[in-house]
């Protein structure tokens, strides 16, 4: 028993802590960038002209349609062939943001379509330009409506951030893999890793819930079950 504790204290704890930080550093920028890309692409898919719309749709088809691991391999192992070298960290954030953005854009697109056309006519009749109308009238409503879906995507992101270790960005799962292959204590190590992810997703759920609460205004309530 004491031997087990010693192992945890001396090796598991510091390694997992280090991995945990790397994971957070991967997730935070990817979540923000992904959301920004999602909003932009979502808007272009609805309000862009024909070629822009087609380009945005193609973007989603590619980044939602190719397995994320494959995308990461291309960024990290493929790009050097054309002379572009990305660090494992940058390649991971890039891969996560683009993939996450493709999914976010789907939620944003749905929310944009749910905004009544009449409000756009009203905005135009007041002299709003199209861009200004989208920014001040449409998006504030669409984002409120898309929030539950986008929150879901951020939870997914937390979990698929574990793929970064496949391109040698040693985050939480990567540290676990190293520990476990050294000690063969797969069950113990990965149970702890699973718990760490559960903590992250639970905190994210609470934060997202608070955000929804704060942005809630009469007429935009989501029915909770």
């Amino acid at each position: 028993m004491t031997e087990g504790w010693l192992y945890i204290q001396a090796e598991v704890y510091p390694a997992l802590l280090k991995g945990f930080w790397v994971s957070l550093q991967l997730i935070a920028p990817s979540a923000l960038l992904g959301l920004a890309i999602g909003i932009m692409v979502g808007v272009l898919r609805i309000y862009g002209n024909r070629p822009v719309m087609a380009a945005a749709n193609t973007f989603v088809a590619i980044f939602r349609g190719i397995p994320l691991v494959v995308q990461l391999f291309i960024w990290y192992f493929g790009l050097p062939h054309i002379g572009i070298y990305l660090s494992p960290f940058v390649a991971s954030v890039l891969g996560f943001s683009l993939c996450s953005g493709a999914y976010h854009s789907e939620y944003i697109r749905g929310a944009l379509l749910s905004i009544k056309r009449g409000q756009m006519l009203a905005a135009q009749s007041l002299g709003f330009s199209k861009v200004r109308m989208i920014i001040s009238i449409i998006l504030p409503q669409a984002i409120r409506r898309a929030l539950p879906g986008c929150g879901n995507e951020i939870i997914y992101l937390i979990k698929y951030s574990s793929l970064a270790y496949m391109i040698t960005c040693i985050e939480l799962t990567g540290q676990g893999k190293i520990l476990a292959s050294n000690s063969f204590k797969y069950t113990e190590v990965f149970l702890m890793i699973g718990a760490c992810y559960l903590v992250m997703t639970s905190v994210a759920t609470i934060v997202l819930g608070r955000m929804e609460e704060r942005l809630r205004i009469p007429g935009f309530e989501h029915r909770r079950t």
Binding site: K116, G118, Q119, L121, A122, A123, Q124, S125, L126, G127, F128, S129, R132, S136, I137, P140, Q141, R144, I217, P218, G219, F220
Partner: protein, 252 residues
């Protein structure tokens, strides 16, 4: 001789093979209240939407204050729309903004006024339509009549020269029509120039400077309320007016 504040000449609009407007022309003088009546599908709504280019007409020209509106030029179009307020049948308030913010946002985002100044003006406009005490409420918390009054305040805050009202009371419970009519009557008494499509002919005949009967994309007949409702020349006008009088009565 007064020159018209708004001149609409030969506006036509076609959707696919259907001609919705077949050359409607109209001169509006300052302080006029022109009422458009006619059956559904006559083109009243399309004409109003063409006047501020929410629907782009296929043909026709429009002058405001003797300046022709070149709507293909975005800047001209946005400037023109600020001077032509529009009221919709289903209010079209911005759902994520309070009554006050609904009235303020156009002044801030389009006219570039400061928030504080625009806020003061918004309170004044809401007071004018009798909603000062409801200014912090969201559209979902307002009745239909209140929403329509907010939308009128929102349009007025832009200092329009002309107001277009597209059946402003058609979506309202009968009990709520009166409060909106009172606001519109008040506007008319203060000299606002208006073009309004409505079925409320009692109200229309008590206020209108001219009634225009539209059918099938054309203005078939025009004249004073007395002429249109009692001595119409066109058989279709007579028929429509007698039917609508039966439905909506003489009371305003």
């Amino acid at each position: 001789m007064t020159t018209p504040i708004l001149r609409i000449e030969n506006i036509s609009k076609r959707y696919g093979k259907k001609d919705v407007l077949k050359g409607a022309s109209l001169d509006v003088n300052k302080g006029d209240l022109k009422i458009l009546i006619g059956p559904s599908g006559a083109g009243k709504s399309t004409l109003l939407q063409c006047i501020n280019f929410l629907v782009k007409p296929d043909e026709g020209r429009i002058w405001l204050d003797e300046q022709e509106v070149h709507y293909a030029n975005k800047r001209d179009l946005y400037a023109y729309r600020q001077k032509v307020g529009m009221i919709f049948q289903d209010f079209n308030l911005f759902d994520h903004l309070t009554a006050l913010e609904n009235v303020r946002i156009g002044m801030v985002r389009v006219k570039g006024m400061g928030k504080a100044e625009a806020g003061e003006r918004a309170v004044l406009e809401l007071e004018r339509v009798g909603l000062k005490e409801h200014m912090q409420k969201y559209p979902a918390q307002l009745s239909g009549g209140q929403k329509q009054r907010v939308s009128i305040a929102r349009a007025l805050a832009m200092d329009p020269k002309v107001m277009l009202l597209d059946e402003p009371t058609s979506a309202l419970d009968p009990e709520l029509i009166g409060e909106v009519h009172a606001v519109i009557r008040d506007l008319g008494n203060n000299g606002m120039t208006m073009i309004m499509a409505t079925h409320q002919i009692g109200f229309a005949s008590s206020l209108a400077s001219e009634i225009l009967f539209m059918e099938d994309g054309r203005i078939l007949e025009r004249g004073t309320p007395d002429k249109i409702f009692n001595h119409a020349e066109n058989a279709r006008t007579q028929e429509f007016c007698s039917k609508i009088t039966e439905l909506y009565g003489e009371r305003g």
